[in-house]
Symmetry: C2
Subunit: 346 residues, 2 copies
């Protein structure tokens, strides 16, 4: 817990005058490994920084943290706004900390740079979990593209796991490709749903159903219970139409009421069953390996693109050629050839 | 029409001994502009070639063709296997040629390299359209990634339009991201469906509904007519749940029977209405401009990646670092840094 007695860390930028020494990587690593929240938060801030000097330190920290081999679990949670994600994570997280698990919550929200952290920026969210000494909550990093946000999230996962968090929950809202991004960094992907045709279609249309390892129909309480039971049957039927998953897992459909703290344990049981079977058949490990590989390739791709876009000559030429391409006076392929020729001879 | 009296051009690779002179770009351009099918086919073969010398010629041809400003229409057609795409395109294409339109059909099928052109490789498909002097049918280019196939398709569109084809139909089967790729290169996107719950969900889950400008429920004939009418109502209701399109167009739902040649004219009426309204409000032109711009950026990205992957040092280093990353002994970010440092100092 930091000096304010809260573990919500804001997007504090390192002060202009602060020297690299202030962030001695060895100290921060030592701090992380002893679960010092201030050190962990500082390291995540370095990960999130766009300054090259900070990134260099962050890379050294990540490398040290990576050597810590721990049994961890990464759970992705998604659902449309209003489905009750915060309430769910609050209840689910508290249940896990009561089981002596240490739980961290991260968010992937590419819109947070526009809305200043809409998902978790509001400190009134997850009020109880925030105060739980075995929980750590961090809002989505600000600044930019989904690629940037996911990279920072992936790096933060490594730090959190080194700091002793057994379970990292990654929350996302259904914006653009953010679900796909979160799916690519977790072991288990949970889709929260509401009963009601409109919402069902909203979820299905973005291909999220295919990614889900389980679907939980939330707000299955009070007058809503009957509709939730119907939705449960419908989703189970719908899921049968999908081709079987490569890991052999058959996605489960459940009901819960995060508000009333009902149905959360069965969801955890399903996750445990998933972990058990997918560790037994090797999928768990293979999936993480494949994820690592695709992080590498994505990171290279992003860097190559950044190099190109930052090139002085390209910056000068691109707008002009782009306009010609848009006007149809130059083919996209020829414009690309011209730009690449300039870039290669830099 | 070529020497065999058929316009299906196979994947003939230029012979090893053939010189660049054999493909004089000026001659080919002149041939294309006079709608010489042999010249057009040869030019498309050059576009599809992976040889750098062929690509250089292809680029010159494309540039010349691009200067031909013509009123053209690009229609994307998708649907699951068995929905009757070939029969539909055969009937629809013939209807258009009877209206004095010249029609070209291309396919985007990233699986065709594995299955040797599964979609259109079979010469028995579209037997009547193939023989129509006002139609030109070309199977999916072989060879590789979706990115490669879509690039070749985009370039072929330019050649076909220069050759005087008013309407280019781009067909795809619902594999991976191929619908998104086709959507990114057409003016109008038509989704073919069958009545029946299984198929409906299959279509919806991949987010295709969102892209469709019209949905046509095919095989609405005989015993199937009642179910097709029901599906029509359901789809219309489902489409209402989607947010309105940026061009203000409300997607239409129709029934047809390609086999019985029924309901094809109303589909053409809808397309004409779409073209009229989207030209009036400027969307048609703006959409093509945006497409051109994204072709440029995608092409640059792909080239940067290719450069990297072809680099001798990278080729040597990558497998080793990739393995370390997969094993978890090296972070993806650090591996990327190492590779990029080597690459930048090449």
């Amino acid at each position: 817990m930091n000096e304010n007695g809260t573990k919500i860390t804001t997007f504090k930028k390192p002060k202009a005058g602060s020297s690299g020494k202030h962030y001695a990587p060895e100290e921060l690593v030592a701090g992380i490994l002893s679960n010092n929240i201030a050190a962990l938060s500082k390291a995540i801030t370095l990960v999130e920084s766009t300054k090259q000097e900070h990134q260099a330190i962050a890379n050294r920290i990540i490398e040290s943290c990576l050597s810590q081999k721990k049994e961890t679990l990464r759970i992705g949670i998604t659902g449309v706004p209003g489905v009750g994600k915060s309430t769910f994570i609050e209840g689910f997280g508290k249940m896990l900390t009561q089981m002596e698990k240490k739980v961290a919550v991260l968010t992937v929200d590419p819109t947070s740079s526009k809305t200043k952290g809409s998902i978790l920026g509001d400190k009134t969210r997850m009020q109880e979990l925030v105060q739980d000494p075995n929980a750590f909550i961090r809002p989505s990093p600000s600044g930019g593209s989904l690629g940037g946000v996911t990279r920072k999230t992936r790096e933060s996962i490594i730090l959190l796991e080194a700091a002793g968090y057994d379970i990292v929950i990654i929350e996302t809202v259904g914006v653009g490709q953010s679900e796909t991004a979160v799916h690519s960094m977790v072991d288990f992907f949970l889709l929260l749903k509401l009963s009601g045709a409109g919402d069902e279609l909203q979820g299905i249309k973005r291909g999220i159903m295919e990614m889900a390892d389980a679907v939980a129909i939330n707000k299955a309480d009070g007058e809503n219970l009957k509709a939730a039971k119907l939705a449960e049957v419908e989703f189970r039927r719908a899921l049968q139409l999908f081709p079987p998953k490569e890991n052999g897992w058959i996605p489960k459909v459940m009901r819960c009421s995060a508000l009333q703290n009902k149905g959360l344990e069965p969801i955890w049981d399903v996750i445990e069953e998933f972990v058990k079977t997918s560790k037994a058949n090797g999928f768990f490990e293979r999936n993480r390996q494949e994820q690592n590989k695709s992080w590498l390739l994505q990171h290279i791709e992003q860097s190559l693109k950044n190099d190109f876009n930052r090139d002085a000559k390209i910056k000068k030429m691109l707008p002009n050629l782009e306009e010609k391409v848009m006007n149809g006076t130059l083919s996209p392929f020829n414009a690309a050839l011209q730009l690449l020729a300039i870039y290669r001879n830099k």
